[in-house]
């Protein structure tokens, strides 16, 4: 069974009197432990697709099965719960909360967890993740005191703190220079290989997409191509 299965997903935005179709019949499967790059020009619908995959948005029609469960019609509250324990997000602009330290930023999603951990367990897990992304010594710095690469690593630690099965990264290297980009991508690959986390990276940079095992290209709301590579060259 695939982790993610989309069946004929349509998404139409209603702008006043005109309906604007953004996704026009997308069907795809992503297996557990895949590292997928989602490519496409701006306006192609890749962000919309990612929002639907990330349970931030609902499709107009079509079926979305996450772990075999149909979730395209569930309520906002249930989607929030799902996002909390199954899905992690990494954004282009990091989206760290400026007035909190790195530590507090990473810990934050745990506070919204329904079956909550003890405070000590929460802190232990946070510290562990910060160490994993190599920021153990900077945990009490605020985002403004960190470099771009460090901020993105904090964001990655935050997305992992609830031990999600799938991670969505929306242009994760868009605001970083090439050397830090490489570091971040390496971190992603590590996570994918050692932890078995499914990764879906949205990008328009072919250099980033190279790191993936599979590249899905979107054009005008439809899948243009879906290419699977063997172990990527980028790692070696």
């Amino acid at each position: 069974m695939d982790l993610i299965e989309l069946r004929d997903i349509h998404k139409t935005y209603n702008l006043g009197e005109v309906d604007v179709p953004v996704l026009r019949g997308i069907s795809l499967q992503v297996g557990s432990g895949d590292l997928v790059a989602l490519m496409g020009a701006s306006g192609s619908g890749k962000s919309t697709l990612m929002n639907i995959l990330g349970c931030l948005d609902r499709p107009t029609s079509g079926e979305y099965l996450l772990e075999g469960r149909e979730i395209s019609g569930i309520s906002a509250k249930k989607r929030a719960k799902l996002r909390n324990h199954m899905i992690g997000f990494v954004f282009q602009s990091f989206n760290l909360l400026a007035r909190m330290t790195a530590f507090e930023n990473v810990l934050m999603p745990l506070m919204y967890c329904r079956n909550r951990l003890s405070e000590r367990e929460m802190e232990r897990r946070t510290a562990e993740l910060l160490e994993k992304v190599g920021l153990a010594d900077r945990s009490h710095h605020r985002p403004s005191q960190l470099s771009g690469g460090e901020q993105q690593r904090v964001a990655i630690a935050r997305s992992l703190v609830n031990r999600p099965q799938v991670l969505f990264a929306d242009e994760p290297t868009g605001n970083l220079d090439s050397r830090t980009s490489e570091e971040i991508l390496l971190l992603f690959q590590q996570l994918n290989q050692t932890e078995g986390i499914t990764l879906i990276i949205v990008t328009h940079d072919p250099g980033v997409a190279q790191h993936a095992q599979r590249i899905i290209r979107i054009k005008d709301g439809q899948i243009e191509s879906d290419a699977v590579f063997s172990r990527t060259a980028g790692l070696s």
């Binding site: 509250k77 929030a80 719960k81 996002r83 909390n84 007035r99 506070m111 919204y112 967890c113």
Partner: protein, 457 residues
């Protein structure tokens, strides 16, 4: 989310922008401080009013002996002898709402000093408690008689200003002797000027002496006809000069008892009686219960059956108490209006800033939603911020209010009283202002679309 985390988060958010938080709560701070100050000054003022009212006698209850009805004709209160000094002692002992009691023996007698004489409106035999009840304890000159004088039936008296003027012409009467029915009384004190009462009767036209003295040394001779207020019953038997001059003049409007009837009707005197008992309740609110307590007790003591009607009357100062109640009610309402206005203004300030804050933190809201915050979590977070803001404002306001009312009481010498109710109310009101005015911004935040919110610049 646990309350603890919500509060921690709210405090964290507020700490981040101290200046703004302070300015925002200023409305609440000023509002609550004003309310507390007003309440405390108001409470002090109403205490002062209460004291003034008590001085006029708002919390006093008067117990009078009952009325004797002969052949369908009521002879008025005081025509039977039912009240004893022991009744008074029992009331003092048994009725918890009663603060002081004073038995009173009345007389209408001439007071002679040298070649001057005067008939005071009030010649009362009583105990020193009378002065406490009438708020008359500090004397203009000399001192009051004591309980010891009452036990001794000492021949001492204290007199009001009018009596001083009439008999002594402005000289100090203390230490001098006056005669009442040929009994020699030493004047030991002069009462403060009190002026006329509400009915226009001169309250300074008074002579006070131990009730035992008045009872046994002065009016003992006229005891046969009941007490002083019904003394006409006794005197009608005497020859009346007027009716001899004008034979057709009807002297008595009502039926007069013959001596035989009198002997039949009035109970034999077995005990020393008093003409009335004055009680002071602890406060004017207790007057109603005092009336009840006293009635119940006296019915028991007088061994009245359920079918019998009271052989006494209990009267309170309804007019005064009602005035007092309406005064304090008016005051409370006035303060409530002021409080409401200032708190609404403060609340609008809170709402305004919370709306700004929600807009400012749209991205944060989007992110929190993306990592799994439910709309309810967001609602709680912003609501908690507003409530914490208001509660902090309420606390600071309470402190400032307490402080300023203290300063006012020091500088202006106004009476103030700590009002625990006002403090509790201020805290509750500021919390509810926070909830009321914080709800809309928080609701707005919780209804944001995470995608839109994340994209917000």
């Amino acid at each position: 989310m646990k309350l603890y985390f919500t509060l921690k988060m709210a405090l964290n958010a507020l700490r981040h922008n101290v200046m703004r938080a302070t300015l925002t709560t200023l409305g609440i701070i000023i509002g609550v401080a004003a309310v507390i100050t007003m309440m405390e000054i108001g409470k002090g003022a109403s205490l002062a009013i209460q004291r003034a009212m008590a001085a006029i006698g708002a919390n006093t209850v008067v117990i009078l002996p009952g009325s004797l009805t002969i052949a369908g004709v009521a002879t008025g209160s005081g025509s039977v002898i039912t009240l004893t000094p022991q009744d008074g002692d029992a009331i003092q002992k048994e009725c918890s709402s009663v603060h002081w009691i004073a038995p009173i023996v009345r007389a209408r007698v001439q007071v002679v000093y040298g070649n001057l004489n005067w008939v005071p409106t009030y010649v009362y035999g009583t105990t020193p408690r009378f002065l406490d009840i009438r708020d008359w304890a500090d004397m203009a000159e000399g001192e009051a008689f004591t309980d010891h004088d009452v036990l001794n039936s000492s021949k001492v008296c204290i007199i009001g200003q009018t009596v001083v003027k009439e008999l002594f012409g402005g000289q100090s009467p203390v230490g001098r002797h006056v005669r009442i029915r040929n009994v020699d009384f030493k004047v030991i004190g002069v009462l403060r000027r009190k002026g006329a009462n509400l009915m226009g009767l001169d309250q300074d036209d008074i002579l006070l002496a131990p009730w035992t003295t008045i009872k046994y040394r002065v009016v003992a001779s006229t005891l046969s006809g009941g007490n002083q207020s019904s003394s006409n019953v006794a005197s009608t038997a005497e020859t009346n000069q007027l009716s001899m001059i004008y034979p057709y003049l009807q002297q008595n409007l009502y039926y007069t008892q013959t001596t035989t009837e009198q002997l039949d009707a009035s109970p034999p005197i077995r005990f020393p009686n008093v003409d009335q008992i004055l009680c002071a309740a602890h406060s004017s609110e207790l007057v109603t219960s005092t009336v009840q307590d006293v009635s119940t007790l006296l019915r028991q003591r007088h061994r009245l059956r359920d079918s019998d009607s009271d052989d006494f009357y209990v009267r309170d100062m309804t007019e005064l108490t009602r005035t007092m109640a309406s005064t304090s009610e008016l005051m409370t309402k006035l303060l409530l209006c002021v409080a409401m206005i200032s708190l609404v203004v403060g609340g609008i300030g809170i709402m305004n800033i919370m709306l700004v804050s929600v807009t400012e933190r749209t991205r944060e809201i989007g992110l929190r939603m993306a990592v799994g915050a439910e709309p309810g979590d967001i609602l709680r977070q912003f609501l908690a911020e507003a409530v914490v803001l208001c509660l902090l404002g309420g606390t600071i306001g309470t402190l400032i209010g307490r402080g300023s009312s203290y300063v006012i009481s020091l500088v202006l010498r106004w009476p103030t009283a700590v009002s625990a109710g006002a403090i509790i109310a201020a805290v509750l009101v500021s919390a509810s202002v926070g909830i009321t005015f914080g709800f809309y911004p928080a609701y707005k935040a919780s209804k944001l679309d995470p995608i839109e919110a994340l994209r917000y610049e």
